[in-house]
Symmetry: C2
């Protein structure tokens, strides 16, 4: 008989660990303890069942205990809650939630994949009916049942994180009127504000009520004259939003109690502390998934990054280390993606806030190129932001929003980031090009080239959020777009010179003021800057130009 | 006055060089000589106009000389053929093709972007009417006009390269009956045969006549009783294909005559030889694009890789080097993509033939995962092949075919390849995952993991093309799929054991024969191999399993 490996938690990381362990050790005894009734379900699919995009609930049950027994010879115990760990005697105590019987199980190796629990708001009225988190199949079934039974037509999502926005989109698809409330000035914290702004616009375009900078104050019962409903969500500024159903999307916290009670070291973020081999502080006890604290791949700081991809790979790594296959977990970049109606947003690496927190110098470029060759039908622009180290040129992070081609660009940049590439490397990447798929210079290449130009001093950037506070006696905003573009909207107080006329009109321009150049996306105004700089003018190029400025301004209003 | 930079050729590389040069040097004199009537046209879009996907011909004219003058102050001379270079006196001779006047032009720096010319078959009847290459807007107009005038309903494409297949698809879309002939046993030489086989199947599925291993012998006039038409394409085996229109897609050769006549060094491949800074052997003479010989990014060998992406980046690099911005071209990986009806195929790095030629050891994995999470609607499998160095684990090349998500996977792998990543790095890449976009373990991750398993000796691979010659007295083919899958087709002589029954039926299996395990894609049979190996059986896993074997067998028939 081989080693006895116990695994706590049968989703994502836990199940990856179990199946990998079996492949490495046919003679091991592998027992998976799952508190809930299901193992290996597709938790990322839950919102899409609620909206009806996934019609068949069985599709979410990726594996059954029977099949896992047949194929992987796994001993799966559902409704089995691990209540304590005794690292000294290498034992765990398990309570069967059906029979309430408690038993003790010996281990040679233990893998904790306890996950994370939804944050529950500690506000008055939190225990009113019709409030749900969405983390498990049971949560999903409860929401689905509630909506059906009550004939719910009105929903409020508390918190504009990834799951909050997915649920908002899907309940809207189901026909509910949806509001999203968020105490921060923007949704999706991993994005910088001017990128999240694109999603604010998209949500509102589809009729979602979006309340920013306005958190949850309490839950109330409907008052006389107010729309009937299960609950009224009261915002910080007093706004009352009656709701038939409330989805709590306030994020998650690591389920670290089991580890903490057993004396395992917990990191400053509240996640279980592990080394690069995913070993906890107790011998032969590993931890993986949303329960652990990881090292951020860019800032090097401890971080909580609860994502399915890393959890799965961590499970495999833990099993490798138990069975002698050398394997280290390289840290987490936080690569994530979300579809919000007709827009997709994705991110990898660090954003501005994280870089500032870590005291790391950065510079940014913003682009709005087409997702594929402009001459081929269906070309739609995407917004791409790339952050880099101005001294070394090393890539630090990237964010993109658009109609399509978003996952591709962020996956490429996530790969470049992991490789430690510089913007020079990114400019020279050799990517697929045929008219339906890309461009001779892919948006990723263009971002690298734009960053090269900044580093080489060929252009000096100015950010969209510096425009409002410019002293207009010292700075002149010059718009280099074509006339038709300008007629559709302009930055207040800007002056218009179509790029093609610039060389002939240089003597119209002031030499005592700084020129802030912009066009639609920043490419033509970069050309303008090159002409101006080489003619002795002081000049900065508005990063991302009118498109970035306009989205940020339009998207940043709180309601 | 700044430097006088002359550029020969006004498409792709030449135009990228010109605009970059202007941004770097406002005071330079930049003259572009273009033999044809148009500069900066979208040559990759030509097939799509023929098929009507691009409806507006003007969309293909990316820039006009007037706009290039206004924005970039470029002196664009069309119909201007450069007929000689005098490197010693730094002069070129130019013939105006309209007036036939010849003039001499001095340069400080010269950039050759002369491109490549279509290979013209030297066979009897090659000068018959209705034969066209597709390289320029004029070629495109001629084909379009010919088809309209003649009411062409029947076309033959000679050569199954990228452009040949794009034209075949587009003329089919236009309503023509199309045949493709190819002297090699497969289309698209950059792909390995079992990957190209997927496209053979797709072409035939759409009614394209595909003649493989059967090159062009000659062109004939229609004989009595034969369908009328402009030409009859006669194949090596005597097959006669009457055609109203013939597209010559036999590839291109570098236009190196100008360079050769001027005494510049030409590489062994026939392309202009350049160093990493794209300098030719003559002082201050640079060359870029399809005319040059590049270093293959994986094999390190001299190669001709005529692609738009590299050409554009090379143009920028040449301009950088002229104006003192340090810049080197890193070699070419040959990343390329083509859409063929409902399939997309893409490739990066070296294929098996190139690796064998270069004497480089390699191993391959084949996978057939879904392009996104299987539980989300629309999940379609893709075929992914990854080549790697069995000793170091370094990535060497990748190929993919499928309905969608192909460009993304090859772009990620092209990035990993450029970074020098190993299969371990690829297994750990952190890529976007939400149900519409990917999977917790992306196909790219899975390929890395599969390669890790091969390197670690956890599984021993066998290739699809080794199956036919197996000595069945020494080897037993075991099929681990489910019953329904097996009923739809099986490898002749194989024996069926559903994976879930394997452990209970081990004593049915021979210990004196090698077991060849397969399932649909290789994942379940990998699990089977692990069980078998740990129970003392000799075992190999069929790489890519039934799906790869079936496509290769079905797709490899010559007609």
């Amino acid at each position: 008989m081989g080693q006895r490996v116990l695994i706590v938690g049968g989703v994502a990381g836990g199940m990856s660990a179990a199946t990998r362990a079996r492949r490495l050790a046919e003679d091991a005894e592998i027992v998976v303890f799952e508190r809930g009734p299901h193992v290996s379900f597709a938790n990322c699919g839950l919102p899409y069942f609620l909206g009806g995009e996934i019609a068949d609930r069985n599709k979410l049950l990726v594996q059954t205990p029977e099949r896992l027994k047949a194929v992987f010879n796994l001993d799966i115990r559902t409704h089995a809650e691990v209540v304590s760990i005794d690292p000294e005697h290498k034992e765990i105590t398990v309570r069967d939630r059906t029979s309430n019987r408690v038993s003790t199980e010996r281990y040679d190796a233990l893998i904790l994949s306890t996950g994370a629990a939804p944050v529950v708001p500690r506000v008055p009225g939190a225990d009113r009916p019709g409030h749900f988190a969405l983390r498990t199949l049971e949560d999903m079934d409860a929401i689905d049942g509630w909506i059906k039974e009550r004939g719910a037509t009105n929903g409020v999502v508390v918190g504009g994180g990834f799951i909050g926005l997915e649920v908002a989109e899907q309940l809207h698809r189901r026909g509910l009127r949806i509001s999203v409330i968020e105490r921060n000035p923007q949704v999706l914290k991993p994005f910088d504000p001017e990128m999240a702004a694109h999603l604010h616009i998209e949500l509102r375009k589809h009729g979602v009520g979006l309340y920013l900078n306005n958190g949850l104050s309490r839950f109330d019962s409907p008052t006389a004259g107010e729309r009937a409903g299960a609950s009224v969500v009261v915002l910080a500024n007093g706004t009352r939003l009656p709701a038939d159903v409330v989805i709590l999307g306030l994020g998650v916290r690591p389920e670290a109690k089991l580890a903490r009670d057993a004396g395992l070291v917990i990191g400053p973020t509240g996640g279980v502390k592990v080394d690069a081999h995913l070993r906890t502080s107790a011998p032969d006890v590993y931890a993986v998934g949303d329960a652990i604290e990881v090292t951020h791949g860019v800032t090097g700081r401890p971080a909580l990054i609860p994502l399915g991809g890393p959890a799965n790979r961590q499970g495999r790594t833990a099993a490798d280390n138990i069975f002698g296959v050398p394997s280290a977990y390289p840290g987490t970049l936080g690569t994530a993606i979300v579809r919000v109606f007709d827009r997709t947003a994705a991110v990898t690496g660090a954003n501005e806030a994280q870089l500032k927190d870590a005291g790391m110098a950065f510079e940014a470029v913003h682009l709005h190129p087409n997702a594929h060759a402009g001459y081929y039908p269906g070309a739609a622009p995407l917004a791409l932001k790339v952050l880099f180290d101005p001294v070394t040129g090393r890539l630090l992070g990237a964010q993109a929003v658009g109609a399509d081609g978003i996952d591709k660009r962020i996956d490429v940049l996530a790969t470049a980031l992991r490789a430690g590439m510089t913007v020079d490397d990114v400019a020279d990447l050799e990517l697929c090009y045929a008219p339906p798929f890309g461009a001779a210079k892919d948006p990723v290449n263009l971002a690298g080239m734009a960053a090269q130009n900044v580093r080489a001093g060929l252009v000096h950037p100015i950010r969209w959020d510096e425009i409002a506070s410019l002293d207009r006696t010292l700075a002149l905003i010059l718009d280099f777009r074509d006339r038709a573009e300008r007629e559709a909207g302009a930055i207040p107080g800007s002056v218009h010179i179509p790029l093609g006329e610039l060389r002939a009109r240089l003597d119209e321009l002031p030499r005592d003021a700084e020129i802030i150049a912009h066009c639609a996306s920043g490419q033509r105004s970069y050309n303008a800057c090159r002409i101006l700089m080489q003619n002795g003018f002081r000049c900065r190029n508005l990063v991302g130009s009118f498109k970035t400025w306009k989205a940020a301004v339009d998207g940043s209003r709180p309601t």
